[in-house]
């Protein structure tokens, strides 16, 4: 019984993130991405941060040619929607020792950015 309770709690924690990124709007996410992420990132070039095209579903630390922190390279994370939501909310809480420190506080904006990253990852350059 206790096991089911634990599973129920975990599901209740996981579902909002899943639902949130499922409801994201890629068009809105493009605007947020360019405005808030575009200082360091681009889809197709490694800048201060790594290139993002293809990030959705990719193993963390996987952008070719980018010098990641050891913490992120060894994290074993895969960039699912739920993990991206946790990452954008507080990257250092998810991966202590990572260099990224930017917080995207608004859940809607996170969902929209994740939708944009997913759409752009599916699209060819």
């Amino acid at each position: 019984m206790r096991r089911f309770e634990i599973i129920a709690v975990l599901l209740s924690l996981a579902l909002p993130a899943t639902v949130a990124h499922a409801e994201g709007d890629a068009a809105r996410g493009k605007v947020v991405y360019e405005d808030r992420c575009g200082g360091c990132h681009a889809l197709d070039a490694n800048r201060v941060g790594p290139a993002h095209r293809g990030v959705y579903g990719r193993k963390a630390g996987g952008a070719p040619g980018y010098d990641y922190s050891l913490a992120l390279s060894r994290s074993g994370l895969v960039w699912t929607g739920a993990n991206l939501d946790l990452w954008l909310r507080d990257p250092r809480a998810l991966v202590p020792g990572t260099r990224m420190a930017f917080h995207l506080e608004d859940p809607r904006e996170r969902a929209d950015v994740i939708a944009f990253l997913r759409a752009s990852s599916a699209a060819k350059r």
């Binding site: 992420c37 490694n46 995207l104």
Partner: protein, 195 residues
């Protein structure tokens, strides 16, 4: 798109801001470090802050390179070129302050990439006009301002949060001037940056 060169090419007040601004940054922020002899020994305790400062330094290297691309393009009218060089000077001031802070904390400042790398990652090959350069600078300034605001919650040492806010303010100053020079309207809604 009409360029309002006179808006961008009136650097008098900004020169005053720059002259005072960098000095204050040194006293209020970097001076915190200079006056704290134990700070360098506390590298591990500040490793998170060093990483953020190095990201900021990376942004400043990139901004300096972007203005260099613009300056060397031959596309900027003379008064616009003068202001672009002035803004590049602000970024060089930011760079030097960040290098000083990182070094005093015991960190290793990140080095700039090559100009070829910057030209490629910034899409310099697609720049055909003065407006293209101003749009690139406008986009980078806005992105940098938002980046500096977005990392504020992550600083362990609150003094650096203030530094980050001050860097963001300079980037917003640049963005506003560039937006005016491009003849674009300022945002109608408040709280444009950060969010």
């Amino acid at each position: 798109m009409t360029l309002n060169v006179s808006t961008l090419a009136n650097p008098g007040r900004r020169t005053a801001l720059r002259a005072g601004g960098l000095g204050v940054l040194s006293v209020a922020a970097i001076g915190v470090l200079a006056g704290a002899p134990g700070m360098a020994r506390a590298k591990d305790a500040h490793s998170g802050d060093i990483d953020i400062l190095n990201i900021a330094l990376g942004l400043e290297h990139e901004a300096i390179a972007a203005y260099q691309v613009g300056a060397q393009s031959g596309l900027l009218q003379k008064p616009v070129l003068a202001v672009a060089v002035q803004f590049q000077g602000h970024h060089k001031g930011h760079r030097d302050a960040l290098i000083g802070a990182i070094t005093k904390l015991g960190g290793t400042p990140v080095q700039p990439k090559s100009m070829n790398d910057y030209a490629m990652s910034l899409g310099a090959a697609s720049i055909k006009s003065q407006a293209d350069i101003l749009h690139l600078a406008q986009r980078l300034e806005r992105g940098a301002a938002n980046a500096y605001l977005g990392v504020i919650p992550s600083f362990q040492d609150r003094a650096f949060a203030q530094v980050s806010a001050r860097l963001a303010a300079d980037e917003v100053m640049h963005w506003t001037a560039l937006t005016g020079a491009l003849g674009e309207a300022l945002p109608t809604m408040p709280l444009t940056f950060g969010g």
